[in-house]
Symmetry: C3
């Protein structure tokens, strides 16, 4: 039997694929029903993201260690990248930036915290590889610094200030991509033995044949792009209808939708007492967005956006990224976890979510 | 012989109890002598706080482990709570907030630093349970984040901003209390073996009989409340006479007075090379104020205050709490201490005290 | 043969001594050629700094452990001190402050990062004494707090604010010097066994005879002072000609010139797998500047400056010092290093350098 169909039959999340045609039909028939389109597009993106991550892993498994790791690291956040690219092309830079910062914060705090909590409820104390957690935390810290410094230094809102921020953003984008590349060289090549336990193959599932995997990768990416367009168009209006602030939507809703597939993997690994894998997925995904997706978007904005995008975030978002990084550093320091550690990390996330939800419009 | 009288005879600090009637007499006879009333009320609160903490421990010792720990954790900062409640009822919200932040900073930096120094002068290198210190440091970090975010995010001083801050404060207060409760569940119930050494009974003293302990608890709480009223009324005027800024009074003086009893215990434990106990008292007390006393005051302000109180602190106070938390994290990371570590922690406190002392009026 | 001449013959860096007479000649003949004078003075200061550090070490080696350590710790940053004193006398307080903050940031990030990178390129994983790194990191943190608090607290730019900042700066300067002195007592006397491996004599070179060392120390200090005068006079104008911002010059160029000698030692030790020594030089030098050189300059400004200097830095500089301290803390936490750790630390430095280079004039 076709492994793709078999996968769909076994994984209930993939039944949501039925919403993919539904969202296209609704967009055609009721282009003004923003709330409906928003809900349908969310329900359609989640299973597509799951398929995308399986296809990526299958290709990675076939192409051998180094190339596979590279591929996984590059395409692991393809969903987030495609959503952000759609928003970028539409010129919605506030949404792009909020979704980047939100993805970093959600992956570090929510994905990691919930993994600790879910794992901790089943296992008394869990241990994991500190070295990997530490390297990821330092990478995240680096990205936060790159986002913090332009905001901290540029006080003037003059024309000179804007030009400075733009130039600096391009320079920082290049720096971050270089750091990300060297980090992969380090963890996949020169010092891969230090990261050993986090490298594990996922769940021992048989990978798909190469052709199927590549075809799925290509086809699903196109589908994600199409659904993202509907999602990005409807999200702001739908947010208003739900009484949510734009900041909450960009930071929390988009990030949870985009990361649903990774979250499913991370939580299931935590339950199986393979916390190394959970920590690797959560922090790896966060640092990939901060060091790879964000700078790529800045550089691509010169090509596909209506105008160049800079790296300067809303100060509240920088504070949240900084706090998320410090929390991860504090919490992963010992390489051990119990349920309460998860609660604490989730509490920090809840503080952010509550603040963004209550935020009066116009502050962000 | 009555254990209460025996205690008073053996503990020179309790001789200060003579100042309790003195302060009431002075308040009756010379209600305008603010400086005198201030000095007398300080001298009266210190022995009352000592009695209160002995009574709490005696009740806790009788009621068994979990309930006793709960009681200790809830009533351990009764003095601070009563003083703050008195100031809250008087509508002195600036003093309430300064005393909360000051108590957190004083307990983390002064109490911990002086314990390290006093212990280190007697013992070359001291070791203590890192797990407890780390959990307390993360709890403190969580509370600081809860206080930092509203200040960092709310820039507008508009009416919308004020409503937002108030709503958010109530939400955060509930979150903090939940985190505090779960923290007790964790350290007293599900993972109590990790905190083993810090749980020790204090000094092997025989606890008082239950009736005496309960009666002392009730009676002394009333006395503290009455003396606090005189203290709160006189402190601002007395501060002016002494040339101290209101910020210095709230942050340093009130915090030192309110924490005198815990400090005596923490220092004596450090000298006896039981640093686990000192660290537990200092950090436990700080996180209790931040996660329990402060949110309870916010919620109670709806009932007993002239108007609702929010959680937003003066930015300088947030910075000081954040620095105090980072200092503790840095310093307790290794689980070892020597005299110089104490000096460093005290230096950070001295920087704060000096800044607050010199602060021109009107800045806070 | 005279050990001074022998040293000069063996150490190619000392051949740069030829630029010392050249810079004096140029200053006499072409006092308006700022760019030339700037380049020549840089080339002259580097070998003089190297000689100065050799002479200091020779005197230290002869005077025995405690006194030698004291001497080394006090005169180790003599070059930076003399340059800063020259700028102080010229009333260039912005340059003085930028060079202090820059020296701290450059020593922590560039010197440490490059040591990790150079060592890591030769050795797979390197280990070093964590205790020393931690104490130095906490000392740096203390100094950063001392610089952070006045800036964070003093918002008013009124006359009262200025008087407050000045008073506070003197108080903080005294506090920092006391902390520095107690730190030496701790690491050289009471707990010297904890710092054992970092205390090593440098490279087993035979020290110079006492007379030669003292004469070199005195003579070279005078030369450095004279060259510094030319350097300080020419640097601002030359920076403009090179298209560099004043912030970049003070922070990066002056710091790299002043620290060239220590950098040579730190890098060579890292290549020889003696990372303890590299970490000790880099962090020791940074904390010496922050806790000794900076406060001494504040106090001396009352005697030799045109007006008192305060400790309040440009907010961007405080953020950079704070980030540098956090980076060091994060990175040295494990006591192990590999090449990528060096890359990460250098990246943070590159972010700062890039920001300062692009900064529009008038922001600092």
């Amino acid at each position: 039997m076709n492994p793709l169909l078999k996968e769909i039959r076994h994984n209930p999340m993939l039944w949501l694929l039925a919403f993919v045609p539904a969202v296209f039909a609704a967009a055609k028939l009721k282009p003004e029903a923003h709330t409906l389109l928003f809900v349908l597009s969310v329900l359609a993106i989640v299973p597509l993201a799951t398929l995308l991550s399986h296809a990526t892993e299958s290709v990675a498994a076939k192409t051998g260690d180094a190339a596979g790791g590279l591929l996984n690291a590059t395409l692991g956040n393809l969903t987030e990248l495609v959503i952000a690219l759609t928003a970028l092309r539409a010129g919605q830079y506030t949404l792009v930036k909020a979704s980047i910062a939100g993805a970093v914060v959600t992956n570090t705090l929510f994905m990691l915290g919930a993994s600790f909590l879910l794992g901790g409820l089943k296992h008394h104390v869990q241990e994991y590889n500190r070295v990997n957690a530490r390297v990821q935390a330092i990478l995240l810290f680096l990205a936060t610094v790159a986002l913090l410094i332009p905001s901290a230094v540029a006080t003037a809102d003059s024309a000179a200030g804007a030009a400075f921020t733009q130039e600096l953003s391009v320079g920082l984008a290049v720096l971050l991509i270089v750091a990300y590349g060297l980090g992969m060289l380090f963890s996949l090549k020169t010092h891969r033995e230090l990261f050993a336990s986090a490298e594990h193959a996922e769940d021992g599932e048989a990978p798909w044949p190469m052709g199927l995997a590549l075809a799925t990768l290509a086809g699903v990416t196109v589908l994600v792009a199409l659904v993202s367009e509907i999602f990005v168009e409807s999200v702001q209006q739908a947010a208003k209808d739900f009484g949510m602030t734009p900041a909450f939507v960009g930071f929390i809703v988009v990030a949870l939708v985009g990361g649903a597939a990774e979250m499913a993997s991370a939580f299931s690994a935590a339950r199986k007492n393979r916390l190394d894998l959970s920590v690797g997925i959560a922090l790896g995904s966060a640092s990939q967005i901060a060091l790879f997706v964000a700078p790529v978007l800045v550089l691509l904005s010169y090509v596909i956006g209506p105008m160049p995008m800079d790296l300067r975030l809303w100060p509240g978002a920088v504070v949240m990224m900084l706090v998320a990084t410090l929390t991860v550093t504090l919490v992963t320091n010992g390489g051990r976890s119990a349920w309460f550690v998860g609660v604490l990390v989730l509490m920090v996330y809840a503080i952010f979510a509550m603040t963004l939800y209550l935020l009066p419009p116009g502050v962000q």
